[in-house]
């Protein structure tokens, strides 16, 4: 049985239908064609599918698409302004905070929420803030450095 879904992703409204059992991440990827959100475990541990739902980070593999009806979502596709990297993306590049890049979209969205709620995190706070996102490549050292650097550029007067 298909259900009608209307939601807003990165400021654009989409409508579609889905079975009640369709996960939100599958709906984003296969129905809306937004493949920047990745699937790593489908049991809510690795965080690769993290998106922002009404401003809060969620595991899009642990939600059904129908639960997001009416919601406002932010995915990685909504972050860069045309060809200019967002300051978090720029910091990840500058500090070599990605290797295979599979975890990166979710890592960046988690960072976006972290720095919004805590613009000047300590290293410990950064590590706790990112603890729900697994990266198999970097050992996190450069991710932590990139988040620290992004927090500095985003709060500098030039960024404001």
């Amino acid at each position: 049985m298909q259900q009608q879904i209307t939601l807003t992703v990165n400021g654009k409204q989409y409508t579609g239908t889905a079975e009640p059992r369709r996960s939100l991440v599958d709906f984003l990827r296969y129905d809306l064609g937004l493949t920047g959100t990745h699937v790593g475990c489908e049991h809510g541990v690795c965080g690769a599918c993290t998106i922002l739902l009404n401003g809060e980070s969620v595991r899009s593999c642990l939600m059904f698409a129908v639960q997001a009806n009416g919601a406002e979502l932010t995915t990685i596709e909504g972050l860069a302004d045309g060809r200019t990297l967002h300051p978090i993306q720029a910091a990840f590049k500058q500090h070599h905070a990605l290797q295979c890049g599979f975890c990166t979209p979710a890592m960046i969205l988690t960072t976006l929420e972290l720095l919004r709620d805590n613009p000047h995190p300590t290293e410990e706070e950064i590590r706790v803030g990112l603890s729900g996102n697994l990266c198999m490549c970097t050992g996190y050292v450069n991710i932590v450095r990139a988040v620290k650097a992004a927090s500095e550029t985003m709060s500098s007067p030039a960024a404001a």
Partner: protein, 794 residues
Amino acid sequence: MSFVGQPTPRVEDDALLAGQQRFIDDLGVQGLSHVAFVRSPYGHARIRSIDVSAALARPNVYGVLTGDEIAQLTKPQRGRVPLARSPQVFALAYQKVRYVGEPVVAVAAADRAAAEDAADAIEVDYEPLPAVVDPEEALTPDAPLVFEEIGSNVLWHDTFPYGDVEGAFAAADQVIAERYTIQRYASTPLETFGSMVQYEPSTGGFTVWGHTQQPGQDLNTLAAAIGISPGQVRLIIPPMGGGFGNKVRPLYHVILAVLARKIGRPVKWVEDRKESLLGLGHAADGIMEVQAAVKRDGEILGLKFRNIENEGAGIDFAGRHNLLMLSNIVNCYRVRAVQYEGFSVVTNRCPVVANRGIGKPFMCFATERMVDHIAAELGLDRVEIRMRNFIQPDQFPYDTPSGQTYDSGDYPEMLRKALELVPSPAAAGEGEGVGATKAIGYGIAVGVEPGGSNLSYGMLISGPNQLLSGAGEAARIRMESDGTVTVYTGNPDTGQGHATALAQIVAGELGIGVEQVRMASTFDSASHPYVMTSGNYSNKFHANDTAAAIGAARKVRDKLLARAAQRLEASPEDLELREGKVFVRGSEDRSLPIAAVATRAYWSVADDQPDGEPGLEAVYYYKNPISNRPDDQRRVRVQLGFSAAAHIAVVEVDLETFDVKVLRYAVVHDCGNEINPMIVEGQVHGATVHGIAAALLEEFVYDGDGQLLTTSFMDYLKPGATEAPDILTGHLETPSPFTPLGTKGIGEGGAITAPAAIASAVEDALKPLGIRITGLPITPAGLWRTASAGEKRY
């Protein structure tokens, strides 16, 4: 100008940062169907019958494939190292299942949900058999046989004595013996394994979009299994979300190809995480007995190893863990007599695959633990005993007893620098009086990091007639008609930044900017050259890939210079390439834009062609010249380059909960000249955290029936940002004389050496309890049990 040595930002990053990179699950073709598997719930069972009728009766189900059909339609698998007594292994379970998670039936349907529903509707009647999961038990006469046709559970067993082993033991003041164990673990790339296959009726072949880290071998495995020419298979490998050696399972492509042909529709399957943990492949668990013949002053005269390697229920990588251990069997030490006895044993566990460092983490663990234990037995300092036995800087190139030629290094200086970077807490006045509930430990380990496999090592098992041999890579370079350059190699992308490193190298060779060079990062057998030693494995990029790219670039450069010489009326030897132009050396006013020469090479075909052909393209197949064959004493260069590192770990152990926290961690490494120091440091961080996680967190746990108890990331523990420590790094650069740029490997060393460093630190912390760390992983529950029982071995 050369861009080698610069921390050039990665050319791969922008697409990844924007979520625009197309991974396998982002691809599709018209009319695609989706595959789900029925997998074995038993560790060992006979398949009595399979009833697929209910599945086929469901709507939108297109077809199924069983082991009986696979056995009729395909040839059995040959291992990468052919065995004298090889069991029959097919892509789907045939007559028996041999591990939990083994694929039994494949079913294709309109979408993944429909395929999974159909798989649930398939009835398999099993007759459970006794399982064997412990490799020592598998060696006993009464053990259940995993493959009846080979008459035992031993796939291979051999002993390699190198040097005067008996003489060394006779001359010893003391022989120290210890038994070490390592668990099953895997690097678990965040993107799981996937494949999409389309049958091509016009050629009778297939287009495969799918994962492999060894394209030449796996393309040929697929063609041979189905009985078609390699030329009928087009293999396309999109950039992978991590590999670490795990993404080498050609039999899945075989299943999908046969199924696609059978149902007349393209098929796709991407593993879910449970399937991946159950069945993609693990690093082998093993049991190693080590004896060391030592003098009272700590000099190590000889070492004997007896290793039982648990290969699980497969043959594809059988023997490889064992043989690769010959590459780091003496680690950094001047030991002239070693003996290695290896068993490859099959059990009812998941088959092993390559995993970052394959075999070498365990060998490093065994040698480094033994060195610590020799020090403990003789009352020597852990640093002092290492300094006493190190190969000395003036001894390079150094031939080890098993036939490795260590290219370069300065191990004493490497260790000294590491000790400076993180001094021992006791020396720094910490550690004393931490209290009754916490103890601080200081760990030391050194490790060589072999790079680049010489696949002739398989001849130690299969004999001198083995077809697969040597080491090499292939590259195609085309200067386009606008003067930019495209690079194609036989090494598919798993995220290590090879596109950036090769752009740095090729740009320098051709006198253009790094941004003018693009890598064709999606491997395509229709455009990318390869040999059977091609691929993304064995830490080989530093040698074979750089040399192949340089070889192709120099051929293109010669063509370019010949054309420019004509137009500049100069001799090619008098020309130089820089800043996008061809200059007559010494005359700044006589130059041509490189792009202009390139344009004419393609457009003005009527021009005189100085090298006989239009265009600016070249292919270069590189053979690593130091790859050899086993000699009459069975010495062979198993691996070809030898980076090294010293690791220092400071841990805090809670003496009530036995939780281990890594407080500080330092790595001083030497990979020769660095192409891109930023990427090098990233590889050191990532590999080291793999090693730390293998030491403290990760373990595939099987029960006695062969059930895997760790089938999600809630049970199989990966390190998060809160478990991984910050890592201090230091560098030493002793260039290799054997590679074009003096480079050595850097992708695996952290994973090889870190487990030994962590064990050394925990053992130091537990000194008051007298517990010796001999096994991995080191878990709170395990330490608590050992301490509570008053045992002295963990």
